[in-house]
Amino acid sequence: MSFLEIQAVSKSYGEGSTLVHALIDASLSVDRGNLVAVMGPSGSGKSSLLTIAGSLEEPTSGDVLIDGKSLASMSYNDKARLRRRMIGYIFQDFNLLAGLTALENVALPLELDDLSPRKARIAAMAALENVGIAERAGHFPDELSGGERQRVAIARAVVGERHLLLADEPSGALDSANGDAVMKMIRGACKKGIAAVIVTHDAHLASWADRVVFLKDGRIIDQTVPPPSVESLLEPGPTP
């Protein structure tokens, strides 16, 4: 069984004439060490898929299994604990707390999970080092560039023993070099065994994934097949 199993999930909002089907019978599995991108236009259900996978929202029907455990059968408190310990989130607008330094932002989820402040800070510093931004640890978010803020957000998402990384348009409004850097870090986290899902409308970001799943009008309509050998790319084409 895969680390993340989204099983026949549907999600509707509103009722009667305002009923909207955001997701219809969507299923997706993501193994440890794998990066899956979900691509689709605005309103295709990408964000709903991600928030349901991360237990931030309940599906109307269907279930999500994380490490074999069904979210549908968990209590509110169990889910909160699972989110703190297992799941890291990266949002488009970074969602850093303005009153905390970079280091404190990254340490926060560990402290909320009852780790001692000293241990939490040591782990947070290591996470900041991993994304190459340790020297900015003492700065507040508004003293950091967009690229630096997103690095802090990634450090916060993978700090501790997280196993699942969920990212919504993770490069936000960053330029393409910073976007590549963000995806490189997410890939790096996957190499250490984390399962990751990113949702994006940007093919550049999606192309970093092992598998790209296409969502349209709430349904998964297609996915990429694993690429053939790299060498096949370099076979001589037509002469110029």
Binding site: A203, W208, V212, T224, P227, P228, V230, L234, T239, P240
Partner: protein, 191 residues
């Protein structure tokens, strides 16, 4: 793209042998553009004939022959570099024609055709990104080539996204006859 001009550019660094030019061309394009040696020599022959390069007449034909840039060749190279590359070719892309054709063929779902191509393009982008991730830090030429390919593929995907949206809207709102004279459109396309 002009292999001729790329060879002139390599010769602007100094006299070189034919096999050396081939090797430097391939390395300088990130090893994604293989050239056969026959093509190199036939291009050099044409450049020599047109006076853009010259060779040591005393040496035999073949690998020992050294080529150098002439003044005419330098002027041609400068002109090429300072002239905008012609990007204004008429929109006769095969994919565009295929989508337009599919609209007329009974029983063909143009959205399926769009998705088929979108997936194919994303798969190609995955391969380039994978290669770039492995090699871009060590090979600048390759990184530039990979960026160019990724941008090109991405722009085609954006067009497919746009086409899909436009077709969806067109289903909801019937088209209004165009007011742009056909002749003017043709002139724009030919410019």
């Amino acid at each position: 793209m002009s292999v001729r001009h790329a060879l002139l550019a390599l010769l602007s660094e100094g006299p070189k042998y034919g096999f050396q030019l081939r090797q430097e061309f391939e390395e300088g394009t990130g090893d994604v553009w293989p050239l056969n040696i026959g093509q190199v020599y036939s291009t050099l022959q044409r450049l020599e004939h047109s006076g853009h390069i010259e060779s040591d007449d005393l040496a035999d034909e073949g690998p020992q022959k050294v080529f150098r840039l002439t003044e005419e060749g330098k002027a041609e190279l400068d002109l090429w570099l300072s002239t905008p590359t012609d990007m204004s070719s008429p929109p006769r892309d095969e994919l565009v024609i295929k989508v337009l054709s599919a609209l007329r063929v009974p029983g063909v779902d143009v959205n399926d055709l769009i998705q088929l191509h979108r997936r194919h393009l994303v798969e190609l982008m995955q391969q380039w990104t994978h290669l770039k991730d492995e090699e871009a830090d060590t090979d600048l030429a390759f990184a530039l080539v990979a960026d160019a390919e990724l941008s090109r593929l991405d722009s085609v995907i954006r067009w497919l996204d746009q086409a899909e949206g436009r077709l969806m809207r067109a289903e909801l709102e019937p088209a209004v006859p165009s007011t742009v004279p056909r002749l003017r459109r043709r002139l724009v396309a030919r410019r």
